[in-house]
């Protein structure tokens, strides 16, 4: 991955060089996310760990911000990577794109340093503008918000002009529409209000309409691209599926927003709307799962019929992660989301480790997987090899990270059950109810297992980085 900075096989394709720059920062931030997660997990078991030095709130804030930002980096990288294939032309304003990359990276560095070194400020507007906004996921101070909007506009301008200049495929059409919505929604999170209900109402517009609508559609477009790229799947069929997925994802996801409006002060009608539409949200995820596996099996069968031996996928580690995406998206976002989406259940599960369990598996299954897959596609391109095969390290990365995240999810689900039954159903919430549940032996055991599984995930991450750094060269040597 690193050795390909200067000596890549992109043949002067600047868009792909830029994509690799985004991927590199993404993987570093992914590592930061995992380290912060480990600190926060340890603090659950050893409460004195780094107390009043690097508190849970700080570790957790950097944990979730690194998550969002590495994913945005990898998403932007993926678009810059696939655009030359899809449009058939070089990205139009590549210099501007590079400038935006450096501005964004400088801004992210400053924001993270301020989070870590300054942490909190006095209760004034200047804290919100300069230190942190204190709203989960959207902690970035306002100056950075504005910077992010500018950078995203530059990125979008690049995508749009390249789309207009080149071939207008279905995948590009979906991306152009989806990215506009994605960028525009960020604005809904950029104001201050004294009214906490109003605050959370618009806050969910950003969070939910990103991760349960526009990001999901984005993943659909990436999966479509990957199927064509890796398997030579037929574009007409893939794009038809893509439009069906867009229909189902937006059809359920937009009004599925209602499941965040059950208890924040908003009217009761959101119970019915939220329950109905969010219950439908797993449907497109099943469709995506079937689609990926069907295309894979079909192309593999066709290759076998032609008398070809071995895997049909030209990049088996990427294919592995994309299949894991199909499965993980359905399991993490679909099943684990549906578990607690009905208001009758959610009134007990809302604000417990149940949500954390769902969050871990969903972000991993729906997004981390496919973005890692795109990084492998990027590396294959950078080294210009016809085929790239999984090796021991690639397999260890896939197995350990997936097993680790699944383990954390199960542990947090058990912890969540404990909280739901003891803290909520039996004791009825409150300070004392909370701590009674936190001190139950089964809850503590669950937190211990979560930490162990977090370490497993981190070991998998080490394998992943090692593999990303070496697999390209290996594939090149094997090709000779």
């Amino acid at each position: 991955m690193l050795t390909s900075i200067k000596t890549n096989s992109f043949e002067g394709n600047k868009s792909r060089e830029l994509a690799m720059m985004y991927f590199r920062v993404a993987i570093i931030l992914f590592g930061a996310q995992l380290l912060m997660g480990l600190i926060a997990a340890i603090q659950f078991i050893v409460p004195g760990f780094l107390f009043e030095l690097f508190d849970f709130s700080v570790a957790r804030m950097v944990h979730i911000n690194a998550l969002v930002v590495w994913m945005l980096y990898a998403m932007i990288g993926s678009v810059y990577y696939l655009m030359p294939d899809e449009t058939g032309v070089e990205t139009v304003h590549i210099g501007l794109g590079k400038l935006a990359f450096w501005i964004l990276t400088a801004a992210v560095t400053v924001v993270v340093l301020v989070y870590i070194l300054v942490q909190v400020g006095p209760g004034t507007e200047s804290t919100i503008w300069l230190i942190n906004e204190g709203r989960e996921y959207l902690e970035a101070p306002r100056w950075a918000d504005i910077g992010i909007v500018v950078v995203v506009l530059v990125f979008y301008w690049n995508v749009f002009t390249t789309f207009m200049k080149g071939r207008r495929t279905g995948i590009m059409m979906v991306l152009v529409a989806d990215l506009m919505a994605l960028a525009g929604l960020y604005l809904a999170g950029m104001f201050f209000t004294d009214n906490i209900s109003m605050d959370q109402y618009w806050w969910w517009w950003v969070i939910h309409l990103w991760v349960e609508a526009t990001w999901e559609v984005f993943v659909g477009a990436l999966a479509a691209y990957a199927l064509i790229k890796l398997l030579n799947a037929k574009r007409e069929i893939v794009e038809m599926w893509l439009w069906i997925e867009v229909l189902m994802l937006f059809g359920s996801g937009i009004l599925g927003l209602g499941h965040h409006y059950f208890w924040i002060g908003t009217p009761e009608y959101w119970w019915e709307i939220g329950a109905l539409f969010s219950a439908l949200e797993p449907v497109p995820l099943v469709a995506m799962f079937v689609h990926v596996l069907y295309d894979w099996g079909k192309e593999q069968g066709a290759a076998k019929a032609r008398g070809e031996k071995g895997a049909v996928a030209k990049n088996t580690p990427a294919m592995g992660w994309i299949v894991m995406n199909a499965f993980g998206n359905f399991l993490g976002a679909g099943i684990w989301g549906f578990f607690h989406t009905l208001p009758q259940v959610n009134i007990y599960t809302h604000g417990t480790q149940f949500t954390a369990a769902h969050g871990h598996l969903a972000f991993f299954g729906a997004y981390a997987t496919i973005l890692i897959g795109m990084m492998y596609i990027g590396i294959q391109g950078a080294y210009g090899t016809e085929r790239m095969k999984s090796n021991f390290k690639s397999k260890m990365a896939l197995i350990l990270i997936s097993f680790g995240v699944m383990g954390m999810t199960v542990a947090l689900t058990v912890a969540g059950y404990e909280q739901v039954l003891i803290e909520r159903a039996e004791l009825g919430a409150g300070w004392n109810a909370f701590f009674t549940a936190q001190e139950m032996p089964w809850y503590i055991q669950a937190q211990l297992w979560r930490t162990i599984m977090g370490v497993v995930t981190f070991v998998g991450f080490v394998y992943l980085v090692w593999d990303l750094l070496t697999i390209g060269k290996k594939a090149q040597q094997e090709a000779v």
């Binding site: 926060a40 603090q43 409460p47 107390f51 009043e52 508190d55 849970f56 709130s57 957790r60 804030m61 942490q119 909190v120 006095p122 209760g123 942190n132 204190g134 709203r135 989960e136 279905g170 059409m173 209000t193 004294d194 906490i196 109003m198 959370q200 109402y201 038809m240 439009w243 069906i244 867009v246 229909l247 937006f250 059809g251 937009i254 009004l255 965040h260 059950f262 208890w263 924040i264 002060g265 908003t266 009217p267 009761e268 709307i273 009134i347 007990y348 809302h350 604000g351 954390a356 909520r424 004791l427 009825g428 919430a429 409150g430 300070w431 909370f434 701590f435 009674t436 936190q438 001190e439």
Partner: protein, 228 residues
């Protein structure tokens, strides 16, 4: 396939158009519902509160800042099938009654401080946030902070607001569990603002969340499991 178009079910233009229509329809519906919801969750004013106190119910889902001048309850409503906040008699807050302007300023300071101190990355507010520390939605009503409760007792103060403010300024002086709240440099004024913010939040009609909160009260009265 686009050219042959043997069946509408395999037609790309059909699915593209359907996707656009469904997305458009869902978005329009969301925007329409947003107008209604935003109207319903806009903060009320002092007149609404006086009406609420008279009728013993919350007229606005999100009451105005002067709600800090009233006693707040959380009672089972037979009609709605869950607990709802109630507005009761007038009650001094930090020893005085706050004008509309003063109360609004105090709430503003409190909300700003809640963000500046990053409360949400340990606690949950209205159930959203992190799960490291107790939910704060109804913390104002928590029996542990009331007269005779262990949290009020440990601070040596005689009102809920003073006890909470004292704790917020020196949290690590009052450890209740091995997991403690860190010192965040909260000033006396900021602490007052935060308590106003918490009291205001407890008066929001959250459709019965957290359910069975009154069980905590009953259990507490029985001597409950506060022993450990």
């Amino acid at each position: 396939m686009e050219n042959e178009n043997l069946s509408v079910w395999t037609s790309v233009p059909f699915w593209r158009r359907s996707a656009a229509w469904v997305t458009g329809f869902a978005s329009m519906l969301l925007i329409w519902l947003t107008f209604d919801s935003v109207g319903q969750i806009t903060m009320g004013n002092d007149a609404d509160l006086q009406q609420s106190a008279k009728e013993k119910r919350v007229v606005k889902r999100v009451p105005g800042p002067t709600v800090i001048n009233y006693t707040i309850g959380y009672e089972m409503s037979a009609k709605r099938g869950h607990e709802v906040p109630t507005i009761g008699a007038k009650q001094l807050f930090f020893g005085k009654e706050w004008s509309e302007e003063e109360a609004a300023d105090l709430l503003h300071l409190g909300k700003l401080t809640s963000q500046a101190k990053n409360c949400m990355n340990c606690h949950t507010l209205l159930g959203n946030g992190a799960y490291y520390a107790p939910d704060l939605t109804k913390s104002w009503l928590d029996p542990a902070w009331q007269a005779g409760g262990p949290l009020q007792g440990m601070t040596g103060k005689s009102t809920v607001e003073e006890a909470m403010a004292e704790f917020l300024q020196h949290p690590s002086q009052y450890p209740t569990h091995a997991r403690m709240m860190p010192n965040l440099g909260i000033t006396a004024d900021e602490a007052k603002g935060l308590v106003a913010f918490l009291k205001h939040m407890s008066s929001i009609d959250t459709n019965g969340f957290p359910r069975n909160f009154s069980k905590t009260v009953e259990q507490f009265k029985r001597g409950g499991s506060n022993a450990h």
